[in-house]
Subunit: 307 residues, 2 copies
Protein backbone atom coordinates (compact mmCIF):
# COMPACT_ATOMS: atom_id res chain seq x y z
CA UNK A 1 0.00 0.00 0.00
CA UNK A 2 1.53 3.34 -1.05
CA UNK A 3 1.09 6.26 1.32
CA UNK A 4 -1.30 9.03 0.36
CA UNK A 5 1.57 11.41 -0.33
CA UNK A 6 3.57 8.82 -2.22
CA UNK A 7 4.55 9.46 -5.81
CA UNK A 8 1.87 8.29 -8.27
CA UNK A 9 3.22 5.09 -9.69
CA UNK A 10 2.95 5.61 -13.42
CA UNK A 11 5.22 8.63 -13.36
CA UNK A 12 7.99 7.81 -10.87
CA UNK A 13 10.89 7.94 -13.36
CA UNK A 14 9.51 11.08 -15.01
CA UNK A 15 8.91 12.77 -11.66
CA UNK A 16 12.40 11.92 -10.42
CA UNK A 17 13.84 13.36 -13.64
CA UNK A 18 11.64 16.45 -13.43
CA UNK A 19 12.65 17.03 -9.81
CA UNK A 20 16.30 16.71 -10.82
CA UNK A 21 16.84 13.74 -8.47
CA UNK A 22 17.76 11.69 -11.55
CA UNK A 23 19.61 13.17 -14.51
CA UNK A 24 19.33 11.69 -18.00
CA UNK A 25 22.54 10.56 -19.67
CA UNK A 26 20.94 9.29 -22.86
CA UNK A 27 21.76 5.67 -21.95
CA UNK A 28 18.94 3.58 -20.48
CA UNK A 29 19.63 2.62 -16.88
CA UNK A 30 22.53 5.08 -16.48
CA UNK A 31 21.59 8.20 -14.51
CA UNK A 32 23.27 11.08 -12.78
CA UNK A 33 22.04 11.99 -9.31
CA UNK A 34 21.39 15.18 -7.38
CA UNK A 35 22.71 16.03 -3.92
CA UNK A 36 19.35 15.04 -2.40
CA UNK A 37 19.42 11.61 -4.06
CA UNK A 38 23.01 11.06 -2.95
CA UNK A 39 22.23 12.09 0.62
CA UNK A 40 19.43 9.52 0.86
CA UNK A 41 21.65 6.86 -0.74
CA UNK A 42 24.43 7.65 1.73
CA UNK A 43 21.85 7.31 4.52
CA UNK A 44 20.87 3.86 3.23
CA UNK A 45 24.53 2.88 3.06
CA UNK A 46 25.16 4.09 6.62
CA UNK A 47 22.05 2.23 7.80
CA UNK A 48 23.42 -0.96 6.18
CA UNK A 49 26.67 -0.33 8.04
CA UNK A 50 24.85 -0.17 11.36
CA UNK A 51 22.95 -3.37 10.53
CA UNK A 52 26.26 -5.18 10.10
CA UNK A 53 28.27 -3.42 12.81
CA UNK A 54 28.08 -6.33 15.28
CA UNK A 55 29.81 -8.68 12.82
CA UNK A 56 33.23 -7.00 13.06
CA UNK A 57 33.69 -7.08 9.30
CA UNK A 58 36.94 -6.07 7.62
CA UNK A 59 36.36 -3.16 5.23
CA UNK A 60 37.75 -3.54 1.71
CA UNK A 61 36.97 -1.33 -1.26
CA UNK A 62 37.58 -2.14 -4.92
CA UNK A 63 37.27 0.00 -8.06
CA UNK A 64 34.64 -0.68 -10.76
CA UNK A 65 37.17 -2.77 -12.75
CA UNK A 66 37.71 -6.47 -12.22
CA UNK A 67 40.62 -8.56 -13.49
CA UNK A 68 39.20 -10.31 -16.57
CA UNK A 69 40.71 -13.62 -15.49
CA UNK A 70 38.66 -13.46 -12.27
CA UNK A 71 35.44 -13.28 -14.27
CA UNK A 72 36.67 -16.10 -16.51
CA UNK A 73 37.65 -18.33 -13.59
CA UNK A 74 34.23 -17.64 -12.02
CA UNK A 75 32.71 -18.76 -15.37
CA UNK A 76 30.72 -15.54 -15.55
CA UNK A 77 30.49 -15.68 -19.35
CA UNK A 78 29.08 -19.20 -19.19
CA UNK A 79 26.29 -18.21 -16.80
CA UNK A 80 25.60 -14.50 -17.54
CA UNK A 81 27.16 -13.59 -20.91
CA UNK A 82 24.39 -11.09 -21.66
CA UNK A 83 25.16 -9.03 -18.54
CA UNK A 84 28.95 -8.80 -18.69
CA UNK A 85 30.88 -5.67 -19.64
CA UNK A 86 34.34 -6.01 -21.20
CA UNK A 87 36.68 -3.04 -21.43
CA UNK A 88 38.17 -2.53 -24.89
CA UNK A 89 40.79 0.05 -25.78
CA UNK A 90 42.85 1.30 -28.72
CA UNK A 91 46.35 -0.10 -28.98
CA UNK A 92 47.53 1.05 -32.41
CA UNK A 93 49.96 3.46 -34.01
CA UNK A 94 49.47 6.74 -35.87
CA UNK A 95 48.28 4.99 -39.04
CA UNK A 96 45.78 2.85 -37.12
CA UNK A 97 44.62 6.01 -35.38
CA UNK A 98 43.93 7.78 -38.66
CA UNK A 99 41.84 4.84 -39.87
CA UNK A 100 39.97 4.70 -36.50
CA UNK A 101 39.16 8.41 -36.46
CA UNK A 102 38.16 8.30 -40.13
CA UNK A 103 35.63 5.59 -39.38
CA UNK A 104 34.30 7.58 -36.41
CA UNK A 105 33.88 10.69 -38.56
CA UNK A 106 32.04 8.69 -41.21
CA UNK A 107 29.82 7.12 -38.54
CA UNK A 108 31.12 3.62 -39.34
CA UNK A 109 31.50 0.73 -36.89
CA UNK A 110 34.85 1.06 -35.08
CA UNK A 111 34.64 -2.14 -33.03
CA UNK A 112 37.49 -3.89 -34.82
CA UNK A 113 39.85 -0.95 -34.17
CA UNK A 114 39.66 -1.73 -30.46
CA UNK A 115 41.15 -4.64 -28.53
CA UNK A 116 40.18 -6.39 -25.32
CA UNK A 117 41.99 -5.15 -22.21
CA UNK A 118 42.73 -7.11 -19.05
CA UNK A 119 39.70 -5.61 -17.26
CA UNK A 120 35.98 -6.22 -17.19
CA UNK A 121 33.38 -4.25 -15.26
CA UNK A 122 32.66 -5.68 -11.81
CA UNK A 123 29.28 -7.46 -11.92
CA UNK A 124 28.94 -7.93 -8.14
CA UNK A 125 30.80 -6.20 -5.35
CA UNK A 126 32.00 -9.48 -3.82
CA UNK A 127 33.82 -10.80 -6.92
CA UNK A 128 37.25 -9.29 -6.12
CA UNK A 129 37.05 -10.53 -2.53
CA UNK A 130 37.55 -14.25 -3.22
CA UNK A 131 40.94 -14.00 -4.97
CA UNK A 132 42.08 -11.32 -2.49
CA UNK A 133 41.27 -13.55 0.49
CA UNK A 134 42.67 -16.66 -1.19
CA UNK A 135 46.00 -14.84 -1.61
CA UNK A 136 46.25 -14.60 2.20
CA UNK A 137 46.22 -18.37 2.71
CA UNK A 138 43.79 -20.34 4.90
CA UNK A 139 40.93 -18.43 6.54
CA UNK A 140 41.13 -17.66 10.27
CA UNK A 141 39.44 -20.14 12.63
CA UNK A 142 35.71 -19.43 12.66
CA UNK A 143 35.92 -17.70 9.30
CA UNK A 144 35.62 -13.98 8.65
CA UNK A 145 33.27 -11.31 7.37
CA UNK A 146 34.23 -8.80 4.67
CA UNK A 147 32.45 -5.49 4.02
CA UNK A 148 32.56 -4.17 0.45
CA UNK A 149 30.89 -1.38 -1.49
CA UNK A 150 31.38 -0.99 -5.19
CA UNK A 151 30.09 0.29 -8.48
CA UNK A 152 28.67 -2.67 -10.39
CA UNK A 153 27.69 -3.12 -14.03
CA UNK A 154 25.09 -5.28 -15.73
CA UNK A 155 24.26 -4.79 -19.37
CA UNK A 156 20.49 -4.78 -19.24
CA UNK A 157 19.35 -1.51 -20.82
CA UNK A 158 15.77 -0.83 -19.76
CA UNK A 159 13.35 2.02 -19.24
CA UNK A 160 12.29 0.52 -15.88
CA UNK A 161 13.15 3.04 -13.17
CA UNK A 162 14.92 0.52 -10.95
CA UNK A 163 16.68 -1.56 -13.64
CA UNK A 164 20.11 0.05 -13.81
CA UNK A 165 23.19 -0.80 -15.82
CA UNK A 166 25.46 0.98 -13.33
CA UNK A 167 24.69 0.87 -9.62
CA UNK A 168 26.26 0.72 -6.17
CA UNK A 169 26.14 -2.51 -4.19
CA UNK A 170 27.02 -2.80 -0.49
CA UNK A 171 27.81 -6.36 0.51
CA UNK A 172 28.79 -8.40 3.54
CA UNK A 173 30.46 -11.71 2.73
CA UNK A 174 31.03 -14.55 5.16
CA UNK A 175 33.84 -17.00 4.39
CA UNK A 176 34.27 -20.00 6.66
CA UNK A 177 32.40 -23.19 7.54
CA UNK A 178 29.18 -24.43 5.98
CA UNK A 179 27.00 -24.10 9.07
CA UNK A 180 28.07 -20.56 9.86
CA UNK A 181 27.65 -19.54 6.23
CA UNK A 182 24.02 -20.67 6.28
CA UNK A 183 23.46 -19.07 9.71
CA UNK A 184 24.97 -15.79 8.42
CA UNK A 185 22.60 -15.77 5.47
CA UNK A 186 19.60 -16.54 7.70
CA UNK A 187 20.61 -13.90 10.30
CA UNK A 188 20.61 -11.26 7.59
CA UNK A 189 17.14 -12.30 6.43
CA UNK A 190 15.96 -11.72 10.02
CA UNK A 191 17.76 -8.37 10.15
CA UNK A 192 15.98 -7.24 6.99
CA UNK A 193 12.68 -7.12 8.90
CA UNK A 194 14.19 -4.30 10.97
CA UNK A 195 15.12 -2.41 7.81
CA UNK A 196 11.53 -2.55 6.54
CA UNK A 197 10.29 -1.32 9.93
CA UNK A 198 12.86 1.47 10.40
CA UNK A 199 12.56 2.76 6.84
CA UNK A 200 8.78 2.30 6.78
CA UNK A 201 8.92 0.25 3.59
CA UNK A 202 6.58 -2.52 2.50
CA UNK A 203 8.34 -5.67 1.33
CA UNK A 204 8.77 -9.38 1.75
CA UNK A 205 11.29 -12.16 1.39
CA UNK A 206 11.00 -14.25 -1.75
CA UNK A 207 12.79 -17.25 -3.23
CA UNK A 208 14.76 -16.07 -6.25
CA UNK A 209 17.28 -17.16 -8.84
CA UNK A 210 20.12 -15.50 -10.70
CA UNK A 211 19.44 -14.42 -14.32
CA UNK A 212 21.21 -17.40 -15.91
CA UNK A 213 21.40 -17.28 -19.71
CA UNK A 214 19.67 -19.49 -22.25
CA UNK A 215 18.45 -23.08 -22.28
CA UNK A 216 21.00 -24.45 -19.83
CA UNK A 217 20.47 -21.40 -17.64
CA UNK A 218 16.81 -22.24 -17.10
CA UNK A 219 17.86 -25.54 -15.52
CA UNK A 220 20.44 -23.82 -13.31
CA UNK A 221 17.76 -21.38 -12.16
CA UNK A 222 15.36 -24.21 -11.33
CA UNK A 223 18.03 -25.95 -9.26
CA UNK A 224 18.81 -22.72 -7.40
CA UNK A 225 15.14 -22.19 -6.60
CA UNK A 226 14.65 -25.81 -5.48
CA UNK A 227 17.46 -25.46 -2.94
CA UNK A 228 16.46 -21.91 -1.92
CA UNK A 229 20.06 -20.78 -2.33
CA UNK A 230 19.05 -17.25 -3.30
CA UNK A 231 16.50 -15.19 -1.39
CA UNK A 232 15.57 -11.58 -2.06
CA UNK A 233 13.92 -8.77 -0.15
CA UNK A 234 11.47 -7.42 -2.72
CA UNK A 235 9.95 -3.98 -2.25
CA UNK A 236 7.26 -2.45 -4.49
CA UNK A 237 8.59 0.49 -6.50
CA UNK A 238 6.68 2.80 -8.80
CA UNK A 239 3.06 3.28 -9.79
CA UNK A 240 2.48 -0.36 -10.61
CA UNK A 241 4.17 -1.35 -7.32
CA UNK A 242 6.52 -3.65 -9.23
CA UNK A 243 8.22 -5.96 -6.71
CA UNK A 244 11.92 -5.06 -6.93
CA UNK A 245 14.81 -6.92 -5.33
CA UNK A 246 16.50 -4.40 -3.01
CA UNK A 247 18.52 -6.91 -0.99
CA UNK A 248 19.67 -10.44 -1.77
CA UNK A 249 20.80 -13.24 0.53
CA UNK A 250 22.96 -15.86 -1.12
CA UNK A 251 24.38 -19.22 -0.17
CA UNK A 252 27.23 -20.06 -2.52
CA UNK A 253 27.98 -23.43 -0.81
CA UNK A 254 31.58 -24.13 -1.89
CA UNK A 255 31.16 -22.64 -5.40
CA UNK A 256 33.55 -19.69 -5.03
CA UNK A 257 35.73 -21.33 -2.41
CA UNK A 258 36.44 -24.30 -4.69
CA UNK A 259 37.29 -22.06 -7.63
CA UNK A 260 39.67 -19.97 -5.51
CA UNK A 261 41.07 -22.71 -3.24
CA UNK A 262 39.72 -20.91 -0.19
CA UNK A 263 40.33 -23.22 2.74
CA UNK A 264 39.38 -23.11 6.39
CA UNK A 265 41.95 -23.15 9.18
CA UNK A 266 41.70 -26.99 9.23
CA UNK A 267 42.50 -27.24 5.54
CA UNK A 268 39.02 -28.20 4.34
CA UNK A 269 37.32 -26.21 1.60
CA UNK A 270 35.36 -23.20 2.85
CA UNK A 271 31.75 -22.24 2.21
CA UNK A 272 30.74 -18.66 1.49
CA UNK A 273 27.57 -16.60 1.72
CA UNK A 274 26.78 -12.97 1.05
CA UNK A 275 24.13 -10.34 1.61
CA UNK A 276 23.85 -7.47 -0.83
CA UNK A 277 22.11 -4.09 -0.71
CA UNK A 278 21.11 -2.44 -3.99
CA UNK A 279 21.64 1.13 -2.81
CA UNK A 280 20.01 2.93 -5.74
CA UNK A 281 17.02 0.59 -5.51
CA UNK A 282 16.58 1.18 -1.76
CA UNK A 283 16.80 4.90 -2.44
CA UNK A 284 14.22 4.66 -5.22
CA UNK A 285 11.97 2.59 -2.94
CA UNK A 286 12.11 5.37 -0.35
CA UNK A 287 11.22 8.09 -2.88
CA UNK A 288 8.45 5.89 -4.28
CA UNK A 289 6.98 5.21 -0.86
CA UNK A 290 7.50 8.52 0.93
CA UNK A 291 7.42 11.10 -1.85
CA UNK A 292 10.12 13.28 -3.39
CA UNK A 293 10.40 15.89 -0.61
CA UNK A 294 12.83 14.42 1.92
CA UNK A 295 12.16 17.23 4.39
CA UNK A 296 8.53 16.03 4.58
CA UNK A 297 9.47 12.44 5.42
CA UNK A 298 8.51 11.19 8.90
CA UNK A 299 11.03 12.22 11.59
CA UNK A 300 11.66 8.59 12.57
CA UNK A 301 12.58 7.69 9.02
CA UNK A 302 14.85 10.67 8.63
CA UNK A 303 16.48 9.76 11.92
CA UNK A 304 17.09 6.17 10.81
CA UNK A 305 18.79 7.53 7.70
CA UNK A 306 20.74 10.20 9.58
CA UNK A 307 19.02 12.95 7.53
Amino acid sequence: MLRADAVPAQTLRERLLHAGLLIETGVEGVYGHSAAFETVLAGCNAYAGRMGAADGAEVLRFPPLLNRTVAERNRYAAAFPQLGGHVFSFDGDDDDHQRYVGKLLRGEDCSCELTMTRSVLTPAACYPVYPALAARGPLPAGGCVIDVLGECFRHEPSAETARLQSFRMREYIYLGDAGRALAFRDLWMERSAGLLRDLDLPGELAVAHDPFFGRLGARLADAQVDRKLKMELVIPIGPDARPTACMSFNCHLDHFASIWDLTQADGTVAHTACVGFGLERLTLALFSRHGLAVAAWPAGLRGALGL
Copy 2:
Protein backbone atom coordinates in the same frame (compact mmCIF):
# COMPACT_ATOMS: atom_id res chain seq x y z
CA MET B 1 62.47 16.75 1.29
CA LEU B 2 60.90 13.61 2.75
CA ARG B 3 60.46 13.49 6.52
CA ALA B 4 62.68 11.20 8.53
CA ASP B 5 59.79 8.84 9.23
CA ALA B 6 58.60 8.88 5.62
CA VAL B 7 58.44 5.67 3.64
CA PRO B 8 61.73 4.89 1.88
CA ALA B 9 61.12 5.83 -1.69
CA GLN B 10 62.15 2.72 -3.59
CA THR B 11 59.62 0.54 -1.84
CA LEU B 12 56.44 2.62 -1.55
CA ARG B 13 54.22 0.35 -3.67
CA GLU B 14 55.60 -2.80 -2.03
CA ARG B 15 55.21 -1.35 1.47
CA LEU B 16 51.65 -0.23 0.78
CA LEU B 17 50.84 -3.73 -0.50
CA HIS B 18 52.59 -5.37 2.46
CA ALA B 19 50.71 -3.15 4.92
CA GLY B 20 47.43 -4.08 3.20
CA LEU B 21 46.70 -0.44 2.32
CA LEU B 22 46.74 -1.48 -1.35
CA ILE B 23 45.46 -4.86 -2.52
CA GLU B 24 46.71 -6.47 -5.72
CA THR B 25 44.11 -7.32 -8.37
CA GLY B 26 46.53 -8.72 -10.93
CA VAL B 27 45.91 -5.75 -13.24
CA GLU B 28 48.53 -2.98 -13.24
CA GLY B 29 47.13 0.28 -11.87
CA VAL B 30 43.97 -1.35 -10.46
CA TYR B 31 44.09 -1.82 -6.69
CA GLY B 32 41.75 -2.60 -3.86
CA HIS B 33 42.04 -0.47 -0.72
CA SER B 34 41.87 -1.04 3.01
CA ALA B 35 39.71 0.85 5.50
CA ALA B 36 42.71 3.00 6.49
CA PHE B 37 43.40 4.00 2.87
CA GLU B 38 39.73 4.80 2.31
CA THR B 39 39.55 6.88 5.49
CA VAL B 40 42.47 9.04 4.37
CA LEU B 41 41.00 9.34 0.87
CA ALA B 42 37.64 10.38 2.35
CA GLY B 43 39.53 12.96 4.43
CA CYS B 44 41.14 14.37 1.27
CA ASN B 45 37.74 14.49 -0.40
CA ALA B 46 36.18 16.28 2.57
CA TYR B 47 39.12 18.72 2.64
CA ALA B 48 38.51 19.45 -1.07
CA GLY B 49 34.87 20.09 -0.22
CA ARG B 50 35.83 22.65 2.41
CA MET B 51 38.21 24.34 -0.06
CA GLY B 52 35.29 24.84 -2.45
CA ALA B 53 32.54 25.51 0.09
CA ALA B 54 32.47 29.27 -0.50
CA ASP B 55 31.60 28.81 -4.18
CA GLY B 56 28.08 27.49 -3.56
CA ALA B 57 28.51 24.70 -6.08
CA GLU B 58 25.64 22.44 -7.12
CA VAL B 59 26.44 18.81 -6.29
CA LEU B 60 25.96 16.28 -9.11
CA ARG B 61 27.16 12.69 -9.11
CA PHE B 62 27.50 10.41 -12.14
CA PRO B 63 28.30 6.69 -12.43
CA PRO B 64 31.54 5.41 -14.02
CA LEU B 65 29.79 5.03 -17.39
CA LEU B 66 29.53 7.81 -19.96
CA ASN B 67 27.24 7.89 -22.98
CA ARG B 68 29.51 6.90 -25.88
CA THR B 69 28.14 9.72 -28.04
CA VAL B 70 29.36 12.23 -25.43
CA ALA B 71 32.93 10.95 -25.78
CA GLU B 72 32.55 11.00 -29.58
CA ARG B 73 31.17 14.54 -29.63
CA ASN B 74 34.04 15.63 -27.37
CA ARG B 75 36.39 14.01 -29.95
CA TYR B 76 38.02 11.98 -27.20
CA ALA B 77 39.15 9.26 -29.60
CA ALA B 78 40.84 11.84 -31.81
CA ALA B 79 42.89 13.26 -28.93
CA PHE B 80 43.32 10.36 -26.47
CA PRO B 81 42.50 7.07 -28.25
CA GLN B 82 45.10 5.18 -26.21
CA LEU B 83 43.39 6.09 -22.90
CA GLY B 84 39.75 5.42 -23.70
CA GLY B 85 37.77 2.45 -22.40
CA HIS B 86 34.83 1.14 -24.41
CA VAL B 87 32.30 -1.22 -22.90
CA PHE B 88 31.61 -4.30 -25.01
CA SER B 89 29.00 -6.94 -24.23
CA PHE B 90 27.56 -10.18 -25.61
CA ASP B 91 24.39 -9.83 -27.63
CA GLY B 92 23.92 -13.28 -29.17
CA ASP B 93 21.66 -16.31 -28.93
CA ASP B 94 22.22 -19.80 -27.53
CA ASP B 95 24.30 -20.89 -30.53
CA ASP B 96 26.50 -17.79 -30.37
CA HIS B 97 26.89 -18.43 -26.65
CA GLN B 98 28.14 -21.98 -27.22
CA ARG B 99 30.73 -20.71 -29.68
CA TYR B 100 31.77 -17.92 -27.26
CA VAL B 101 32.15 -20.23 -24.27
CA GLY B 102 33.97 -22.80 -26.39
CA LYS B 103 36.54 -20.19 -27.39
CA LEU B 104 36.93 -19.13 -23.75
CA LEU B 105 37.52 -22.72 -22.64
CA ARG B 106 40.12 -23.22 -25.38
CA GLY B 107 41.81 -19.95 -24.38
CA GLU B 108 41.10 -18.39 -27.79
CA ASP B 109 40.48 -14.72 -28.50
CA CYS B 110 36.78 -13.93 -27.90
CA SER B 111 36.85 -10.28 -28.96
CA CYS B 112 34.69 -10.76 -32.03
CA GLU B 113 31.96 -12.46 -29.98
CA LEU B 114 31.36 -9.14 -28.21
CA THR B 115 29.79 -5.97 -29.54
CA MET B 116 30.15 -2.31 -28.62
CA THR B 117 27.55 -1.00 -26.18
CA ARG B 118 26.31 2.58 -25.85
CA SER B 119 28.67 3.26 -22.92
CA VAL B 120 32.33 4.10 -22.46
CA LEU B 121 34.17 4.53 -19.18
CA THR B 122 34.23 8.12 -17.93
CA PRO B 123 37.71 9.56 -18.56
CA ALA B 124 37.23 12.74 -16.49
CA ALA B 125 34.59 13.49 -13.87
CA CYS B 126 33.43 16.65 -15.66
CA TYR B 127 32.53 15.00 -18.98
CA PRO B 128 28.87 14.23 -18.15
CA VAL B 129 28.36 17.76 -16.79
CA TYR B 130 28.44 19.63 -20.12
CA PRO B 131 25.53 17.80 -21.81
CA ALA B 132 23.57 17.77 -18.52
CA LEU B 133 23.91 21.54 -18.15
CA ALA B 134 23.26 22.18 -21.84
CA ALA B 135 19.94 20.31 -21.52
CA ARG B 136 18.79 22.96 -19.02
CA GLY B 137 19.10 25.82 -21.50
CA PRO B 138 21.16 29.02 -21.07
CA LEU B 139 23.32 29.30 -17.95
CA PRO B 140 22.21 31.57 -15.11
CA ALA B 141 23.55 35.14 -15.11
CA GLY B 142 27.09 35.10 -13.71
CA GLY B 143 27.48 31.42 -14.53
CA CYS B 144 27.50 28.53 -12.09
CA VAL B 145 29.81 26.07 -10.34
CA ILE B 146 29.23 22.31 -10.38
CA ASP B 147 30.75 19.85 -7.88
CA VAL B 148 31.33 16.30 -9.15
CA LEU B 149 33.10 13.20 -7.89
CA GLY B 150 33.44 10.13 -10.02
CA GLU B 151 35.33 6.96 -10.81
CA CYS B 152 37.44 7.62 -13.89
CA PHE B 153 39.28 5.31 -16.26
CA ARG B 154 42.41 5.73 -18.32
CA HIS B 155 44.02 2.79 -20.05
CA GLU B 156 47.62 3.29 -19.08
CA PRO B 157 48.75 0.07 -17.36
CA SER B 158 51.89 0.81 -15.36
CA ALA B 159 53.81 -0.44 -12.34
CA GLU B 160 54.22 3.18 -11.13
CA THR B 161 52.49 3.47 -7.75
CA ALA B 162 50.53 6.59 -8.68
CA ARG B 163 49.67 5.76 -12.31
CA LEU B 164 46.23 4.21 -12.01
CA GLN B 165 43.80 2.94 -14.61
CA SER B 166 40.84 3.38 -12.24
CA PHE B 167 40.73 6.31 -9.84
CA ARG B 168 38.44 8.83 -8.17
CA MET B 169 38.45 12.43 -9.31
CA ARG B 170 36.77 15.29 -7.44
CA GLU B 171 36.14 18.30 -9.65
CA TYR B 172 34.71 21.78 -9.52
CA ILE B 173 33.63 23.17 -12.88
CA TYR B 174 32.81 26.79 -13.62
CA LEU B 175 30.54 27.52 -16.58
CA GLY B 176 29.93 31.14 -17.51
CA ASP B 177 31.86 34.07 -18.90
CA ALA B 178 35.47 34.07 -20.06
CA GLY B 179 36.83 36.38 -17.40
CA ARG B 180 35.22 34.55 -14.51
CA ALA B 181 36.37 31.20 -15.91
CA LEU B 182 39.97 32.39 -15.88
CA ALA B 183 39.57 33.94 -12.42
CA PHE B 184 38.05 30.68 -11.12
CA ARG B 185 41.04 28.72 -12.37
CA ASP B 186 43.49 31.22 -10.88
CA LEU B 187 41.64 31.32 -7.53
CA TRP B 188 41.98 27.55 -7.23
CA MET B 189 45.72 27.75 -7.93
CA GLU B 190 45.96 30.18 -5.01
CA ARG B 191 43.84 27.88 -2.84
CA SER B 192 46.18 24.97 -3.54
CA ALA B 193 48.92 26.67 -1.49
CA GLY B 194 46.67 26.20 1.55
CA LEU B 195 46.31 22.49 0.78
CA LEU B 196 50.08 22.02 0.71
CA ARG B 197 50.37 23.89 4.01
CA ASP B 198 47.49 22.14 5.82
CA LEU B 199 48.45 18.65 4.62
CA ASP B 200 52.17 19.32 5.12
CA LEU B 201 53.00 18.26 1.57
CA PRO B 202 55.81 19.53 -0.64
CA GLY B 203 54.71 20.52 -4.12
CA GLU B 204 54.59 23.23 -6.74
CA LEU B 205 52.53 24.51 -9.61
CA ALA B 206 53.77 23.57 -13.07
CA VAL B 207 52.69 24.24 -16.64
CA ALA B 208 51.35 20.99 -18.11
CA HIS B 209 49.64 19.49 -21.11
CA ASP B 210 47.16 16.71 -21.70
CA PRO B 211 48.53 13.36 -22.98
CA PHE B 212 47.50 13.94 -26.60
CA PHE B 213 48.19 11.01 -28.95
CA GLY B 214 50.68 10.74 -31.75
CA ARG B 215 52.24 13.22 -34.17
CA LEU B 216 49.35 15.67 -34.27
CA GLY B 217 49.03 15.36 -30.49
CA ALA B 218 52.53 16.70 -29.95
CA ARG B 219 51.49 19.94 -31.68
CA LEU B 220 48.31 20.19 -29.60
CA ALA B 221 50.37 19.73 -26.45
CA ASP B 222 52.81 22.48 -27.50
CA ALA B 223 49.94 24.88 -28.12
CA GLN B 224 48.41 24.06 -24.72
CA VAL B 225 51.73 24.72 -22.99
CA ASP B 226 52.31 27.95 -24.90
CA ARG B 227 48.98 29.32 -23.70
CA LYS B 228 49.33 27.88 -20.16
CA LEU B 229 45.81 26.44 -20.42
CA LYS B 230 46.65 23.52 -18.14
CA MET B 231 48.47 23.88 -14.81
CA GLU B 232 49.14 21.11 -12.33
CA LEU B 233 49.98 20.85 -8.65
CA VAL B 234 52.81 18.31 -8.68
CA ILE B 235 53.82 16.57 -5.46
CA PRO B 236 56.76 14.17 -5.10
CA ILE B 237 55.62 10.60 -4.45
CA GLY B 238 57.76 7.58 -3.70
CA PRO B 239 61.45 6.92 -3.14
CA ASP B 240 62.57 8.74 -6.24
CA ALA B 241 60.27 11.66 -5.34
CA ARG B 242 58.70 11.48 -8.78
CA PRO B 243 56.71 14.71 -9.34
CA THR B 244 53.11 13.57 -9.64
CA ALA B 245 50.12 15.67 -10.69
CA CYS B 246 47.69 15.58 -7.75
CA MET B 247 45.54 18.53 -8.85
CA SER B 248 44.97 20.12 -12.24
CA PHE B 249 43.65 23.57 -13.15
CA ASN B 250 42.22 23.81 -16.63
CA CYS B 251 40.98 26.58 -18.88
CA HIS B 252 38.85 25.08 -21.64
CA LEU B 253 38.12 28.46 -23.25
CA ASP B 254 34.94 27.75 -25.30
CA HIS B 255 36.01 24.19 -26.27
CA PHE B 256 33.30 22.26 -24.39
CA ALA B 257 30.75 25.07 -24.49
CA SER B 258 30.91 25.24 -28.30
CA ILE B 259 30.54 21.48 -28.63
CA TRP B 260 27.52 21.44 -26.29
CA ASP B 261 25.93 24.79 -27.26
CA LEU B 262 26.33 26.03 -23.71
CA THR B 263 25.31 29.66 -23.75
CA GLN B 264 25.36 32.41 -21.18
CA ALA B 265 22.25 34.26 -20.09
CA ASP B 266 22.89 36.85 -22.84
CA GLY B 267 23.00 34.15 -25.52
CA THR B 268 26.74 34.26 -26.19
CA VAL B 269 28.80 31.10 -26.01
CA ALA B 270 30.10 30.27 -22.53
CA HIS B 271 33.62 29.55 -21.36
CA THR B 272 34.39 26.76 -18.91
CA ALA B 273 37.19 25.92 -16.48
CA CYS B 274 37.72 23.13 -14.00
CA VAL B 275 39.88 22.11 -11.09
CA GLY B 276 40.39 18.42 -10.39
CA PHE B 277 41.71 16.49 -7.40
CA GLY B 278 43.25 13.06 -7.98
CA LEU B 279 42.08 11.55 -4.70
CA GLU B 280 44.15 8.35 -4.81
CA ARG B 281 47.24 10.39 -5.72
CA LEU B 282 46.72 12.85 -2.85
CA THR B 283 46.28 9.88 -0.53
CA LEU B 284 49.45 8.23 -1.85
CA ALA B 285 51.31 11.53 -1.45
CA LEU B 286 50.28 11.62 2.21
CA PHE B 287 51.43 8.05 2.87
CA SER B 288 54.67 8.72 0.98
CA ARG B 289 55.36 11.88 2.96
CA HIS B 290 54.10 11.01 6.43
CA GLY B 291 54.54 7.24 6.65
CA LEU B 292 52.06 4.38 6.69
CA ALA B 293 50.85 4.72 10.31
CA VAL B 294 48.08 7.32 10.21
CA ALA B 295 47.87 7.40 14.02
CA ALA B 296 51.46 8.69 14.08
CA TRP B 297 50.76 11.59 11.70
CA PRO B 298 51.00 15.11 13.16
CA ALA B 299 47.85 16.19 15.01
CA GLY B 300 47.39 19.23 12.77
CA LEU B 301 47.42 17.06 9.67
CA ARG B 302 44.98 14.58 11.15
CA GLY B 303 42.75 17.48 12.13
CA ALA B 304 42.81 18.91 8.61
CA LEU B 305 41.72 15.52 7.28
CA GLY B 306 39.12 14.97 10.01
CA LEU B 307 40.97 11.84 11.19
